[in-house]
Amino acid sequence: MSIPADIKRDFPVLQQQVHDKPLIYLDSGNTSQKPQAVIDAMNDYYETTNANVHRGSYDLAVRATEALEGARAKVARFINAPAINEIVFTKNATEAFNLIARSWGAANLGPSDAVVISEMEHHANIVPWHMLSAEKGFELRWIPVTPNGHLDLSDLDTLLKGAKLVSVTAMSNVLGTLNDIPRLAEAAHGAGALLAVDGSQYVPHVPTDVQAMDADFLIFTGHKMLGPTGIGVLWARTEFLEAMPPFLGGGEMILNVTKEGFTTTEIPWKFEAGTPMVAEAVGLGAAIEYLDHLGMDNVRAHEIELTDYALRTLNGRYGDKIVIHGPQVASERGGVLSFVYGEPDMRVHPHDIAQVLDQAGICVRAGHHCAKPLLQTMNVPATSRASVYVYNDESDIDALAEALEASSDIFAF
């Protein structure tokens, strides 16, 4: 089985025209579109099930609680988590990183410690560590990136000396590079450090097994995997979640509150202060069902095929007028294609490319992709980025290739 040829029909937003052209969405690395099934599930929740969770004694509230906890179970199964209560819902991946930093980090990191991240991290896995380091005085170390877009692990042993945490992405949101997580886990654990994995780009596109990854924390977000905005996921091993202090305080996360203090409830609710995002959890659960129905192996195979087609089409048509960053073999990367385009001595600025493409109905992202340190290493101020997902096909790549020509017409010198 493969991805159905008529899959675009499942996505209402793709049925429109922009500037009199059919909308072609190539920005799924930024956020994905939502199938009707996800939209229906969230509507249905509000129409039939809505009540506050974990506190009502009536039937409606019981069903709402079941909807939330049912979604948690789907997430756990989707990443092969050993236990359902290891799934913590957050606002997004950024909040999940801040949770790790503020909870685990603040309790465990001091001036003689180090946190190791990589040059290809998203700002969500950089700034929380900068912020905490300013308070706690630990060292932030960087795994370099090679010119062909891979992590340079040649000096990993030195980088890991005295490190307490390694926090890296499983797939770069700029280069598409797939990193060798099991190898990093082995090295981190060998050095006495924990491993946090940013799965924001990986989990939506590649079959994920946290136990095979051997990670200690996995972070991802709902809106990049056909789910709604407003819900992210932190998975962590039970022993760490048990030991970590709470992140946000308030209702839901307590066992008891007195004038003198409070005690926290059990995991994962200890980390979910306040009324949670129930409808969003339901939507994420529906997105997971949709992806399961497609089959994650098929999703990955489709994207390898499409990425390969894009690399061949764009490089074949434009030669040295285009540079697509990152690994050049589709099976070594995800379907995010960052590129610069134009004559080699005078590239068209990515912001101008995005403008010209928009006029053709094509959505791409231009800029630094929330990864400024990486772009500095690559020595480019900005790139254009086309990123594909289940609903893209070869016709979308053909349209992109065709529309790029128009930017040459305007900016030809």
Binding site: H19, D20, H349, P350, H351, D352, Q355, V356, Q359, A366, G367, H368, K372, L375, P381, A382, I410, F411, F413
Partner: protein, 166 residues
Amino acid sequence: MPGLDDLYREVILDHYRSPRNQGELETPPAVRTEGFNPLCGDEVIVFVDVDDTNVIIDIAIGGQGCSISQASASMMSAAIKGTSVDEARQFIGAFKGLMSIHEGDLGGDGSEAEMGIDADAADAGDIKLGDLEALKGVVKFPVRIKCATLSWNTLAQALDEAASDT
């Protein structure tokens, strides 16, 4: 519906291809100020040399960015070179008026340049924007307004710094 012709006018592309006053000035006597557009990573560096009589005797532009930010910076440098600081501030107000910007509307870049600019200056009518009028089409593409105003906000900041240096 606005088309690309509204945005990429020939005079804009000319300034983009052949930017005026590109380079650096020695600091001091010049003041150096950087501006960033966090949205797209554009970066502009404005050098201004203001003499004792409050005349901008030289200006230079560095950094990198899209056609709109580069052309706007180039046109700005050509317009205010040799003017007084007061006139330059009127230019800034007039240009931001052209961009339909009211104070604080865009915010976000966190620059103090937003402060101290007379938004009503655009209505004064005694400033001739000339070639800069070509950038008016940018208003139809709201995302690009920040590209066009980046160098102007940075200039305003540079003029503040030059004033505080004396």
